[in-house]
């Protein structure tokens, strides 16, 4: 399968006076897992709904393989909404066949695809069970199958990992990786940043309807200004506040994280630390995605 691309360009959306999206742009290439992160209400769900055409943007474009997305191309996307949705009284197999047919599959192909995903996701002995009688974990599996049953050429998943047990997280990760490896662009949102960091090739961070960072996970975390972490026990509060060339990003208990200005001398910090108390840790620190996220999100909240 040739790789596809999925791209959003300058999406804007208002709800009355509330600006939900203010020029959201990013691109996801085939074969890529793209993590879409942001605080609640930042605009992730609105963006994803617009990608699928469930909502209309006020302006901006969604492009699939470089062409503006149409009903035709959107039918070839798989979608898992944040609010999980299935017919509670419909049987698993019937439900998946119905959704596959709604995406344009012929009846026999729809059946084959539904059976395939039922088997693949370990739902074989539940295929004739009503969805409402399934455990929450199994309902999530059916929901994933619903997003995959029509063999989509792009996947847009809103919080696919929320509420999954560790085993189901592994299954979900594996399926997403497989789809990406098959050339499908995969976008998913999540609050589990360690998972995003581990799984994704690229990440986009959205804050108040604007993208504040888009890039490869390594690139983003390396690109962040140089950080220094120093653990000192017995030091008085504020021992690091007046040091030249550095800025305190966070201080918690004995641990302090500094941002080093270009050319600043980290040895001066070490001396100050030794003078303040007993140094138990001193390292150049590459921030995790979670830390990067916290920094860019809180940075915007400070005036």
């Amino acid at each position: 399968m040739r790789p596809h691309t999925l791209e959003v360009d300058g999406l804007r959306k208002r709800y009355g006076d509330l600006v939900a999206l203010d020029g959201v742009s990013f691109a996801v290439n085939g074969g890529e897992l793209f993590g879409f992160v942001g605080s609640n209400g930042a605009g992730k769900t609105t963006t994803m709904r617009i990608m699928l055409g469930v909502l209309a943007a006020d302006s901006g474009a969604v492009r699939f393989d470089g062409e503006p997305a149409t009903r035709h191309t959107r039918a070839r996307m798989g979608y898992m909404p944040e609010e999980r949705g299935l017919y509670p009284k419909m049987k698993v197999l019937d439900q998946l066949v119905y959704l596959a047919r709604l995406h344009g599959l012929a009846t026999n192909h729809a059946h084959a695809a539904a059976e395939h995903w039922i088997a693949r996701l370990g739902l074989s002995d539940r295929r004739e069970t009503e969805v409402q009688k399934l455990s929450l974990g199994n309902q999530q599996r059916v929901q994933l199958a619903a997003a995959l049953v029509h063999g989509p050429d792009a996947l847009v998943l809103d919080e696919p990992f929320s509420g999954l047990d560790p085993l189901a997280v592994d299954v979900m990760s594996q399926v997403l990786r497989e789809k990406a490896a098959a050339g499908v662009p995969v976008v998913f949102s999540s609050h589990q940043l360690d998972l995003v960091e581990r799984l994704c090739d690229r990440v986009g961070i959205i804050r108040s309807g604007q993208m504040v960072a888009v890039g490869g996970v390594g690139e983003l975390t390396t690109g962040a200004s140089s950080q220094l972490r120093v653990d000192v026990s017995g030091a008085p509060d504020g021992w690091a506040d007046e040091l030249p060339g550095v800025r305190v990003l966070r201080a918690a208990q004995t641990s302090t994280v500094f941002e080093l200005a270009a050319g600043a001398d980290d040895q001066a910090v070490l001396h100050a630390a030794l003078a303040a108390g007993q140094v138990t840790r001193f390292d150049r620190h590459r921030p995790t995605l979670a830390e990067l996220f916290r920094d860019v999100v809180t940075a915007g909240e400070r005036p």
Partner: protein, 404 residues
């Protein structure tokens, strides 16, 4: 296993509508509530027919036992009785003992014995005045025939026949339709069935919309079908279920009533059913999108009742007031006016068609107004539905839903 189908992508609009409608049909025709509901309505109608048979059917049929010489009267008695619009069934009675016991048991209404000129009647407590008149008349004819013969009249039978053929001439200012009562009953039943069908299946549309909102499945669906396709498919599917029930129930009712002899106007009833089907379709489509729009305003089944009540109230008022007006006079100005109001036509017009005369222009006007109403309400309901169906949370204000 990836895309197994043709590389088609989006399903066609008609394909989507058909698929959605099919799902509604499959799911709803199989539900217990549909089967039980249909059976219950048929049972009610069967009960009504049986009631008619036992009360009225039993009352206008008189069982007469004939004893001894009187046995030869069986045929003339039935013929004469039918001239009086009385149904008489005859049977032979062997002796007085049998006569008494059958009269006591209520199996016979009267036992006639003796020869034609001197008839004796034994009854339990009183003799039906009509039967008394018939028997007296038969007796007198016998006596008269004998007298004529002894007076030398060549052909007493011819004289009697001529005398019997003489009738008073009655002229009516306004002829009472002899079928009026039966037509009225047929009309009322149709009004009732239409009221039930439109309000039940309209409310089912709303419930279906709320169900999809409450379970959030609507967002999955709207990622591949447009809101109007989903709405139209749902409305068509549920409407067909209602149509099936209406035809089954009305058909069973007509069959039972005809078989039991309660109804002799099966052509009128079938015509009424045909009009009923047309008006069901008009009325259902008039109300269905309104119900759908109302349902889209709320996100939980618990809140559904509050938005459905106003719509249902319009139907209930139309039904109650309309039915009462019709009972008083199906051709009164009030009835005629009400039956032209678009929201009420679908339940009142078919009743009027069955019960009385409806001018062609009235019928055409009512259909035209209803079609205009369907266009307006489909637009309104569709707009509300489109704007409200993805909003979750508290009940949405109507004005917000219309603005979008």
């Amino acid at each position: 296993m990836t895309r197994a189908g043709a590389d088609g992508g989006a399903i066609s609009a008609t394909g989507a509508i058909r698929l959605v409608a099919q799902r509604e049909l499959n799911i709803r025709l199989r539900t217990r509530s549909f089967l039980i509901g249909t059976a219950a309505i048929i049972a009610v109608i069967a009960g009504y027919v049986l009631l008619q048979v036992s009360i009225f059917g039993g009352a206008d049929r008189t069982e007469v036992g004939l004893s001894g010489q009187a046995a030869v009267l069986a045929e003339p008695l039935r013929t004469t009785a039918s001239d009086f619009d009385l149904r008489v069934e005859t049977s032979e009675v062997a002796d007085t003992g049998e006569a008494r016991s059958k009269l006591e048991a209520g199996e016979l209404d009267a036992v006639v014995s003796g020869n034609a000129a001197e008839l004796r009647v034994l009854v339990k407590s009183e003799l039906d005045p009509n039967l008394r008149a018939i028997l007296t008349d038969m007796s007198r004819q016998q006596v008269l025939a004998a007298q004529l013969a002894s007076a030398g009249v060549a052909d007493p039978a011819a004289v009697l026949a001529e005398a019997n053929a003489t009738e008073v001439q009655v002229s009516m200012l306004a002829a009472k339709d002899p079928q009026a009562d039966q037509r009225m009953v047929i009309g009322m039943i149709m009004v009732f069935l239409l009221f039930m069908a439109i309000s039940t299946y309209g409310a089912l549309v709303a419930q279906g919309v709320v169900e999809e909102k409450a379970s959030r499945v609507v967002e999955v669906l709207l990622a591949t079908v447009r809101p109007w396709q989903l709405l139209l498919g749902k409305v068509i599917g549920i409407g067909l279920v209602g149509l099936a029930q209406l035809v089954i129930v009305a058909g069973a009712g007509i069959a039972m009533a005809t078989a039991a002899g309660v109804m002799t106007l099966s052509d009128v009833a079938l015509g009424t059913l045909a009009w009923g089907v047309l008006w069901y379709l008009l009325g259902y489509f008039l109300y269905a999108t309104i119900y759908a729009g109302a349902g889209a305003l709320v996100s939980r089944q618990e809140d559904a009742q509050s938005v459905l009540t106003p719509v249902t109230m319009v139907l209930v008022i139309g039904f109650v007031v309309g039915l009462n007006l019709m009972l008083q006079d199906p051709d009164s100005t009030a009835t005629r006016t009400m039956s032209l109001v678009p929201l009420l036509s679908p339940i009142l017009m078919p009743g009027r068609v069955a019960a009385g005369q409806v001018a062609a222009w009235e019928l055409s006007l009512a259909i035209a107004l209803t079609l205009a109403g369907i266009a307006l309400f489909t637009w309104l309901g569709g707009t509300i539905y489109r704007n409200a169906v993805l909003r979750t949370g508290s009940r949405m204000k109507l004005a917000d839903a219309l603005r979008g």
